[in-house]
Symmetry: C2
């Protein structure tokens, strides 16, 4: 059913439905000395995404072949894509679906300075549309994220926060968001839109984070705000800008926070990694 | 800026943003004896889509190269894709964007029997989400269409009608919809979701069709219903099924309607084409 993973620099056929319609899912996985971090969470989300889209789920062995090779660097990022495979013209799937698994590994350095000095983020103009059929999974239809990321080019702005059409903050363009309020750490539910990150899932499973909506007008009042994903780790937010660039809120830097420590433990960033590039 | 169109059976690099994020637009164009039909409408929509996404607009000459070759059949379909080109990991676009233009031609036969005998369509369960940033253009994020098309496999059902989250009928999975009511022919506005078809645009420009919303509970009361696109032509709807398969409405067959005649004139289907396959 599933073709084996092909080597790097592979090409995708023109008739692949991932290319034609974004008909597939992907994962971006941190490899530490060649071993995937949070691999169980990544494969679980990928399989859940395939199930949601009705794509035959790749077997675990075929997924494992994507990282079973000598590492090229201490840290790498493995990008893994599963599509519905080749198809004819038109949205109807072919009688026999042969999903396609593709992957690529690239050396990686996290932006350690952002762990230590915190970041400035901005609100985006774009509002995420509601589509419960696609919410939470990491599918290949990412134009909302692309358009939101195009809203700024100022390199001093690390991320953009996205609200949905109901006016609740949902995520950042490529990270989940977390905040502390009255002693609890919270993250938005992602049942209408957004991508449910693997680090977010692990933090919820650890009991460190609960889910709650965050109306736009309440974000300035949170006690601490973070953006995080499973590759870059967790960045404390020190400044929040409005979409027009005007300052909305500032928070004192909090780098000794137990949430960041736990997140970085989960990613293996607390030991065995020498900070370098910012 | 824009690479020339490559020959058929071309491959797409793994790092192409069309593959990674659906970051691009496409067109599906009827070629009659090698000459594109409604070409001005197709190129206008493609350019509008690129502008909306912030992709450098291909020059007319590069678009024209995609069909300037000897025809392989009396009728062909030209599929044309423009992506933002290759990019690194992450949603931010590279400093220099080099869009990629790809195309493929395949012989084609319209389903003439559906022009003459009409079709059965069904309502889909899936509701289109609202995203004004992407509405109307023919971008590569088509998972809603794919999921809607997966709702049925009964070959006697020709199309599925999609309502939006506000409860208005918007389009079919790969066609626009048209209906007659009180002497006027109407089609839904597509400012929140849906793809604005080129045949639809031509019919509006001809003054034959106006735009109006169609609440779900009013569809059974329309005097006549059609689904149409610029490749297949216009199909009169004779039976509408609910999402559970139960009949909702029937209409008498209307194949001499001036709307269908005009649509088929615009596509060149009224002359010089011998009906064949159903």
């Amino acid at each position: 059913m599933m073709s084996p993973a092909l080597p790097d620099n592979q090409q995708v056929p023109f008739d692949d439905r991932g290319f034609a319609y974004g008909d597939g899912v992907f994962e971006t996985v941190l490899l530490r000395a060649g071993i995937p971090v949070l691999w169980g969470y990544h494969t679980a989300r990928l399989k859940r995404g395939c199930q949601r889209l009705g794509i035959p789920v790749p077997c675990q062995a075929s997924l494992d072949t994507t990282w079973q090779g000598a590492p090229t660097a201490a840290l790498e990022v493995l990008k893994l894509v599963v599509t519905r495979g080749s198809g004819g013209r038109g949205y109807a799937e072919p009688e026999t679906v042969s999903p396609r698994l593709l992957s690529r590994r690239t050396p990686f350095q996290p932006l350690v300075g952002r762990w230590q000095q915190g970041v400035t983020v901005r609100l985006c103009h774009l509002r995420l549309g509601h589509q419960p059929c696609l919410a939470g999974i990491k599918h290949l239809n990412r134009l909302e994220n692309v358009l939101a990321r195009r809203e700024w080019s100022d390199t001093s702005i690390a991320e953009g926060l996205l609200a949905d059409t109901a006016g609740c903050v949902v995520e950042a363009t490529s990270m989940n968001i977390f905040w502390r309020q009255s002693g609890a750490v919270l993250t938005p539910p992602l049942d209408q839109c957004g991508v449910a990150g693997t680090l977010r899932a692990a933090l919820i499973d650890q009991g460190a984070v609960a889910q709650a909506p965050l109306p736009l007008d309440e974000i300035v009042a949170v006690e601490q705000l973070w953006v995080a994903n499973s590759v870059q780790g967790m960045w404390p937010v020190t400044t929040l800008l409005a979409a027009d660039g005007s300052p909305l809120a500032r928070w004192p830097l909090s780098t000794k926070d137990p949430l960041q420590r736990l997140a970085h433990q989960l990613l293996g960033y607390e030991t065995g990694y020498e900070p370098s590039a910012c």
